[in-house]
Subunit: 352 residues, 2 copies
């Protein structure tokens, strides 16, 4: 090792879900939406003049922030936007978790939390979920430097009722509590109204799942004016222009079409409920999911083997080899009805 290499930051790089390049597959491995973005997004693209790309984008992404503020009935000063919720969350870690005390998050959760804690050298402690994969609010009543958890949780899909989310926020008023609501639109109740009551709360959402725009990279957060200002101060000292012109224009177009948004959500929820019923018939076991995926295990089938056999059939789902507690589970994204029928037909043969 050369001398210059001795000062390189050591990281354990996150391994994202496979993005296979084949076209004819059923892709149920990265929780993408099976439906296209709102029709207005295509129209916004058609109207866009590439000549204007010579200019810097609006650093405050005002049009997108205004569209979100209007849709969610908050002030523009209560909205933060970023390059996917990963960017929003990373900025929040950097901004709020500087006490030196360990931050808390569940032992089974979004696999980026410990990665950010490591890269930013933030101490952390994981809190085990109970046997039904539930977060117990009282477990979070210990001295800490901040709290983050997804709701519904990933990759379990389990929703924490809003009263219990509030309990965690209320009992930890000396630190920032981040509720990562990447999957909230698929049946959960958002903590958004609580930002008016608790200034230590940051609610993070994304365009990647419910708005069918994973390819565009848009995340956002709600909080009181003060917490949003702190976040913006750090963001602007990092990179002032992260939201490109097309992101702003297409994101805005998406937010404006509430009817299409509700319609696709309803379809996904309906397909999810049908899939749950069919999986149960086949002996699969899972906690009730309020997200766009089901986290299932089968008493008689190895998850790893099934994962590989599905892949051979061109059906991609997600398997996590760690932590051990979940290595016999598969996370199956809800696709179109047709895709789920093909999956279920394959599993019917496979199980019997």
């Amino acid at each position: 090792m050369k001398n210059w290499e001795k000062n390189v930051r050591e990281v354990v790089p996150y391994v994202p879900g496979e993005q296979p390049k084949e076209k004819d597959i059923i892709k149920l491995n990265t929780n993408e939406n099976p439906y296209p973005p709102a029709p207005g997004v295509g129209r916004a693209l058609e109207k866009f003049k590439t000549d204007q790309l010579r200019l810097y984008p609006d650093p405050s992404a005002e049009e997108l922030v205004e569209a979100l503020a209007k849709q969610y009935r908050v002030k523009t000063s209560e909205v933060f936007v970023g390059v996917g919720s990963d960017d929003v969350l990373a900025m929040a870690f950097l901004t709020f978790f500087n006490s030196g005390k360990p931050i808390l998050f569940p032992d089974i959760t979004y696999s980026f939390y410990d990665v950010w804690a490591e890269v930013f050298r933030i101490p952390y402690k994981t809190i085990p979920l109970d046997e039904s994969f539930c977060i117990r609010p009282m477990d979070y009543q210990v001295d800490n430097g901040g709290i983050i958890f997804p709701n519904p949780n990933a990759p379990t899909g389990v929703l924490l009722p809003l009263e219990q989310v509030e309990e965690i926020i209320r009992e930890n008023s000396d630190v920032v509590v981040i509720v990562d609501e990447a999957y909230i639109d698929f049946g959960g109740e958002s903590a958004l109204p609580l930002i008016q009551k608790y200034e230590n709360l940051l609610v993070v959402q994304t365009f990647s799942k419910s708005r069918s725009m994973a390819g565009m990279r848009i995340g956002y957060a709600f909080g009181n004016e003060k917490i949003i200002k702190y976040l913006n101060d750090v963001k602007y000292s990092f990179n002032s222009y992260t939201m490109n012109q097309l992101t702003i224009a297409l994101g805005k177009a998406s937010v404006k079409d509430e009817a299409y948004f509700r319609e696709t959500l309803d379809k996904i929820v309906e397909t999810r409920e049908w899939t749950k019923k069919e999986l149960r018939k086949l002996g699969f076991e899972f906690e009730d999911s309020m997200s766009n995926f089901i986290f299932a295990t089968h008493p008689k089938i190895s998850a790893k083997k099934l994962f590989e056999d599905l892949k051979k059939e061109g059906i991609y789902v997600r398997h996590f080899s760690r932590p051990e507690r979940i290595c016999d589970y598969l996370r199956i994204t809800i696709g179109t009805w047709e895709e789920m029928r093909i999956l279920i037909a394959f599993l019917e043969d496979y199980v019997n």
Copy 2:
């Protein structure tokens, strides 16, 4: 101040150049390119299908990386891409400047370097430029934790000859040296070939100036395989999907049109040389600029006053009130020939 606020990261937010919303202005304040992006960029936009936005982008931005590797005749493993060169540089600070020793950069330079050092808590020391705003390589032969400088330097526009760039890299082989070449295409000689000789070198460039794509946010870096891998490891542990689908598609289209690229560069250089001549006639003083801007002062005119008077005329240039050494200078971006004629005509009246 509430308890949760005590652990908020303290930053001095960077103030980006004004992005006025009026349409009828002459915008010479943020070093944008006056010409539109290559025609292929518009065609790539037209061909883009928004339906595919439901899927995550390719985290490795392979198509864009391949286009850059081909154009610059390096291996794909020697290329890193990010959300503007600000993103690339911030990741490089985080990855390479961890020795605890102060990093070095010029006292007059891109105003983001000290901002990143502060936000990442990296100690730094600024090295004064000489009286002609030149970087003296021997000043960088002191114990340090890394080096960064723009070439040509900003906001001075002064180019350091390649032998002197090499001297800095060679004499600092124990640390990473970052050469920030945002403006290199306007007449400088890139340090790119040196990546084959020095593995402690990172060369950073951008689509924002010479490629007319500030609005799209694309930056990139060249280095040996090892240094690029370290950078990617940190990048993936931060945010795996920063380059959205449109960024990748439109960036690729831009790189492919070398003829258009050369043509716009030639026009800007020609306009710059004409503007220099005219400014000199009017008594302005400046070091020779090899960038797409001129950093000028006038012995009889207050820069601040001129800045404001130009603004009243709808002509925006950039004025830096700090450091004091440059507070009597204006940084004037090279616009179209027509825009520069209007500026010069105004100045002719103003000076006389």
